[in-house]
């Protein structure tokens, strides 16, 4: 257990400022755990998105000490004990409030992606016939969790 220092952006797109927080951090905690603790104890209305807390949903994207990261997969022991951890939104996107951004552009793009059409000749009465070696590459792209970290450049 140790007290750790955090600076978190509070505000919207027009104006805002960094607020300083100090809180206890236990072994194994990730940055999202600390944000939740600050939220429960000191800043009930601190806005942050999250869902799965296991790196699967891509909701808790933010900049941690200037690097785009998932807060749920960023362990506190990646940082020095005396280091202040600064947390902001991904700067690519307009801020809605605190750590929450407007990512609606991605959903507009989503609509433009054409629907899949499988080749009718691949269809059998047991379903489509495709071999693992042929789907390997496609599956790689489908691992995308839409966290949008890659757009934060």
């Amino acid at each position: 257990m140790a007290k750790r220092k955090f600076r978190i952006y509070r505000g919207d797109n027009a104006k805002g400022e960094f607020a300083d927080y100090e809180t206890e951090v236990q072994e194994g905690m990730v940055v999202l755990d600390v944000i939740h603790r600050i939220q429960a104890e000191q800043a009930n209305d601190l806005a942050v998105r999250w869902n799965c807390k296991a790196g699967k949903c891509g909701s808790c994207s933010m900049e941690i000490n200037g690097k785009p990261k998932l807060a749920c997969m960023t362990r506190m022991n990646e940082y020095q004990e005396d280091q202040t951890i600064t947390v902001t939104t991904l700067k690519t996107f307009p801020v809605i409030k605190d750590l929450v951004t407007d990512v609606s552009w991605n959903y507009e793009q989503n609509k433009k992606i054409k629907p899949v059409k499988l080749h009718p000749q691949a269809k059998s009465d047991r379903g489509y016939v495709m071999y693992q070696e042929d789907v390997d590459r496609v599956q790689e792209f489908r691992k995308c969790i839409e966290c949008y970290l890659c757009q934060d450049i």
Partner: protein, 618 residues
């Protein structure tokens, strides 16, 4: 005074609440029938709980073992559910699941393949044959992305980060709309609809140790209850046997059953493979009794029986609990789950990539070299809104429910893999029936302004009052109460004390205060969700107290074993006329004798029957 004419109103023939696998399946089916379809969700599209599902979706495709058949899937489901399932729902599920899985492939899901190029299927607890269509250990992501992409091309209107607050009903008590709040602005919106589908998931956030995300606050149960709907089987809460136990901050995060499906074994701190000591009589004839036989099964010997690690979740969770209680647990109070000795590092990384990554990052542990520490975590509600099996309509006309928020399909215990297929099957049935219901209505019902005013007043008073209880603290107290008193093993005295604490929390909730403004205010959102979570918790605890037997996921230390008498009843809950929660024992329907015959026949007889049937087909 509130002027409701200033609140934006949106109309849809069918309105769906919740955008996980069930809600999206319902929306796709409804809109394909030409009705205007909207879907509201608390999160953004594609982030719902379904995205976390790992193992796969169960369907008797017979791609890996051709002996599989819907009858065997149905039998497995009934046995797993300890025969408390709504028979007709289990039948619909087993018969419809294969075609829905194939349709998902048609819509773009890229499943792992067999050598012959078909959808691959893996072994899972309680399933006789390899039956789970899967994509590594990220099947839920594949499912939600496929449904999301297919849905948006079909013209479904999506309303993201929009919290449903309460249902509106017409003068006959039928559902006719819902009041929601945009999380971003805190503004209200009224949806008018001819029919409404709840696909709101479960309520695992009532417990301290859970695999569930923040969204799982029993919203569907709370809103349906307030609108007068019947809830059923709330005492059956599945504790998944394998959640992470260390570090503390990740306690409860799911470790997929696929680890055991791919051969993972459970050990205590003496190195004993303890599951061999916990085989229930019902499953003894179909479970390996030696390590050698289990190893032969893993190597693909069709005559070998399944390893005991693949018993149903209720059995495995209780076994781990027992081992820990007896002092044979792992250092942080769980059991060891080892895949490293069973499979090559390459296999593990290919079949369980997200587990490998999850342990590497969160626990600094390499699962290809070391065992994981795991323990039970609250995972799933078998109970929920009581629905008609064929139409999925609740006891409130015009309100339909599907997926985890509906009751009946899984009985007293759900088999792994039966949830994703449930979403596909019952999402489809809900969408279809809600669309037909809407098409039979000539116009929208009038919205009662008093109902709207009440809902909004209840919501804003949390922000407006001067001071009051901190919603985060109330939630934490509820969690520790449910964990301690309404957990995996239950007793009368603990349940009574649990209920007393819930009553006290309900009182405190009347003064809950959210600080700050209405824009994207998590404290406010937390307080709103608590109303539903308290209703859910009370229903669970009261039903658990009433059911004096142990069946499936509901274990009473003071009433061990299944009681024949209790097989005749479901516990049905609704809001009584005095405003208090009313519970009643409701006698179950007599099942179709043919279904009883299938479920109760020996596996040998059933398999022989299927072989003969198939010969007849040729």
């Amino acid at each position: 005074m509130l002027d409701i004419s200033e609140i934006k109103t949106i109309e849809h023939d069918v309105l769906i609440v919740g955008a996980g696998g069930a809600g999206l399946s319902a929306a796709i089916e409804a809109s394909s029938r030409g009705v205007s379809t909207g879907i509201v969700m608390k999160s953004m599209l594609g982030k719902a709980h379904t995205v976390m599902a790992e193992g796969g979706m169960a369907a008797a495709l017979g791609n890996v073992d051709a002996r599989d058949h819907w009858k065997i899937h149905f039998r497995d489901t009934m046995r797993g559910g300890k025969f408390l399932n709504v028979w007709r729902m289990a039948e619909l599920h087993a018969t419809i699941a294969p075609e829905r899985v194939k349709l998902l492939e048609e819509w773009g899901a890229v499943f792992d393949r067999t050598k012959k190029g078909l959808i691959n299927q893996r072994n899972f607890g309680g399933h006789r044959y390899p039956r789970l269509a899967h994509v590594g250990d990220r099947t839920g992501l594949e499912m939600i992305r496929t449904l999301q992409d297919h849905g948006i091309h079909q013209g479904i209107e999506t309303y993201m980060e929009c919290t449903a607050l309460d249902l509106l009903t017409d003068e006959n008590g039928a559902a006719c709309g819902i009041v929601c709040m945009w999380r971003e602005t805190g503004n209200f919106v009224i949806f008018r609809a001819k029919s409404i589908v709840f696909a709101t998931g479960g309520g695992g956030r009532a417990w301290e140790v859970t695999s569930n995300s923040w969204e799982y606050t029993g919203d569907g149960y709370g809103m349906a209850y307030e609108a007068g709907a019947d809830l059923m089987d709330l005492e059956f809460n599945q504790f998944h046997p394998t959640g992470m136990v260390w570090p503390l901050s990740v306690r409860g995060i799911l470790v997929t059953e696929s680890v055991r499906g791919e051969g993972g074994i459970l050990l205590n701190n003496e190195g004993t493979r303890f599951m061999f000591n916990y085989v229930p009589d019902r499953f003894r004839a179909e479970t390996a009794d030696t390590k050698e036989e289990a190893a032969r099964w893993l190597a693909g010997d069709p005559d070998a029986r399944r390893p005991p690690e693949l018993l149903t979740r209720d059995v495995v969770a209780r076994a781990i609990n027992e081992e820990v209680k007896a002092g044979r647990g792992s250092p942080h109070g769980g059991a060891f789950l080892n895949i490293a000795t069973q499979r090559s590092a390459e296999d593990i990384k290919r079949k369980l990539p997200s587990m490998y990554h999850q342990f590497k990052v969160l626990a600094e542990l390499d699962i290809t070299k070391e065992p994981m520490e795991v323990g039970p975590t609250c995972h799933y509600f078998m109970g929920g809104i009581k629905v008609d099996a064929d139409t999925t309509m609740s006891s409130v006309p015009g309100l339909f429910a599907c997926g985890e928020c509906a009751a009946g399909m899984h009985g007293a215990n759900r088999l792994g893999g039966n949830s994703l297929s449930d979403l596909l099957v019952f999402g489809y049935l809900s969408g279809k029936n809600a669309a037909v219901y809407a098409q039979n209505m000539s116009s929208y019902a009038e919205v009662d302004p008093d109902q709207v005013t009440n809902i909004i007043r209840n919501t804003t008073s949390i922000l407006n009052r001067e001071s009051g209880a901190n919603p985060y603290n109330l939630h934490a107290e509820l969690e520790s109460n449910m964990q301690a008193n309404v957990g995996i093993i239950r007793t009368k005295s603990e349940l009574e004390s649990g209920i007393a604490q819930i009553e006290a929390l309900k009182k405190e909730y009347e003064t809950v205060k959210a600080k700050g403004a209405s824009q994207f205010n998590p404290g406010w959102h937390e307080a709103l969700a608590l109303r539903n979570l308290l209703i859910t918790s009370e229903a669970v605890a009261r039903a658990a107290l009433l059911r004096e037997e142990s069946r499936g996921a509901h274990t009473r230390a003071d009433f061990p074993g299944e009681q024949k008498e209790w097989l005749q009843y479901n516990i049905v809950i609704n809001k009584g006329n005095n405003g208090k929660m009313a519970l009643k024992k409701v006698e179950r329907f007599n099942p179709d004798p043919e279904l009883v015959r299938i479920a109760e026949s020996s596996i040998e007889d059933l398999e022989k029957e299927i072989v003969d049937e198939r010969k007849g087909d040729v």
